[in-house]
């Protein structure tokens, strides 16, 4: 079992593995490559699922599968690498205290270990149809840190007992707000996934679904949705109802001790 942890609390070795993973897959041009997976959500493949109504939302299952596929790609290069979650309220509090941007330093610092920080942004691939206005790289334009969600905002959403209600509120009240807050590429559905902070943002969204599942003893999507294929990801809703079969859990921190066997 692997543990996804807060981007604000990564140990140096965990952060190093994350940066190495992103750097490595950014260099790939095959199905393990960063561009390949970014293109599944945004341009040119436009595969992502967001809510159209209260009854047919695949927003949470689709993005859980999507994170899983990128994490597997990262682990083909750096096996100990896991996606961290962006703890919006903690980042908000730290930023207000230190006059920082609100984006976790792991993703905000432009340089790391004397190199370009691969989590600070990304180049974009040229598109086959060469559309006008297609940018060469991601950009950010974060709003004031005080506009990020606070714990009470999250609590209100987690308390919703009905899954469809919870999913819609999580998407619109928190997920959409933070996309807009980061600004730049992140506020555009077709560009957002090319920014590495997208992955920490959505890992937080996935974590909240996981917390909701425990809180309400309910996996969420209606059984009639379970056989639905998640486009572009080779998985169904049923495949992603639990995180444990996908090999990960969420943890605030972890500590391990090796034991000698006789």
């Amino acid at each position: 079992m692997r543990y996804r942890k807060s981007a604000e609390k990564l140990r140096p070795d965990q952060l190093k593995a994350l940066r190495k993973g992103f750097k490595e897959i950014k260099g790939l041009r095959d199905r393990n490559g960063f561009w390949h997976w970014a293109a599944v959500h945004g341009a040119p493949r436009d595969g992502c699922e967001h809510s159209f109504n209260q009854f047919d939302s695949l927003f949470l299952p689709w993005h859980r599968a999507y994170l899983y596929r990128l994490e597997i790609a990262l682990q083909t290069k750096v096996p100990q690498c896991t996606l961290p979650w962006w703890d919006w309220p903690t980042s908000r509090a730290l930023a207000i205290e230190s006059n920082a941007s609100g984006i976790p330093p792991a993703f905000a610092d432009l340089e790391a270990d004397g190199e370009v920080n691969p989590l600070a942004g990304s180049d974009l691939p040229p598109l086959p149809n060469d559309p006008p206005g297609w940018p060469k790289a991601t950009e950010r334009r974060p709003g004031p840190a005080a506009s990020l969600p606070v714990k009470e905002d999250i609590k209100k959403v987690l308390e919703r007992p009905d899954f469809n209600d919870f999913s819609l509120r999580l998407e619109v009240d928190l997920h959409n707000l933070v996309h807009r807050w980061v600004g730049g590429s992140m506020k555009s559905q077709v560009l957002a996934s090319y920014d590495p902070i997208f992955w920490a943002h959505h890992t937080m969204v996935d974590r909240l679904w996981s917390l909701w599942q425990v809180l309400h003893s309910n996996r969420g999507p209606r059984p009639v949705q379970w056989r639905t294929a998640l486009r572009g990801l080779d998985m169904t809703v049923e495949d992603v109802l639990d995180t444990q079969p996908l090999g990960y859990q969420y943890a605030a921190s972890t500590a391990h001790r090796e034991v000698g066997g006789q």
Partner: protein, 157 residues
């Protein structure tokens, strides 16, 4: 279907009657349902104000100003596809078309306005006007970004 689409704030033409029973609120939760929200453009926030038709992006987000909540729209952004890429089909092209809905199908958005509505009732309101102010954090020209098909007040008791 007709739809509201404009850069300026949306204002209800007719107020919503407030659900009262013997002069008291008869609900524990009140939602505004925005049906058919267009999200094909830029991302924005739509701030909902009750009984404050003069609200604008500078109006404080406080109960006293009538602020009741927001919709946060995650916009698709510019179209980088070929011709017709962002045209939403009206449905499957034939009975064997099993594709998921087009990504630009319009969305439902819900704002829970319970506290805001109760505040207005405490002030004696028996009907409420709704104003929706589109804004982002950058004071940019948003264009005709606020677009939806229907607004409903839904209460639960």
């Amino acid at each position: 279907m007709s739809a509201y689409s404009a850069q300026a704030p949306y204002r209800t033409e007719e107020p919503f009657p407030v659900p009262l029973w013997e002069g008291q609120p008869c609900f524990y939760r009140a939602d505004l349902h925005f049906d058919g929200v267009d999200h094909s453009g830029d991302s924005y926030e739509g701030r909902v104000f009750l009984d404050n038709p003069e609200a604008d992006p500078t109006t404080p987000r406080e109960l006293e100003s009538g602020y009741a909540g927001s919709i946060n729209v995650f916009g698709h952004g510019p179209c980088f596809g070929d011709e017709g890429h962002c045209e939403v089909p009206t449905g499957p092209i034939h009975p064997f078309d099993y594709r998921r809905p087009h990504p630009l199908n319009r969305q439902l958005m819900v704002v829970t306005i319970t506290d805001g509505l109760l505040h207005r009732i405490d002030a004696g309101a028996e009907a409420i006007d709704v104003t929706v102010v589109p804004t982002n954090d950058y004071d940019e020209d948003l264009g005709e970004i606020l677009a939806f098909e229907r607004l409903s007040l839904v209460t639960y008791d």
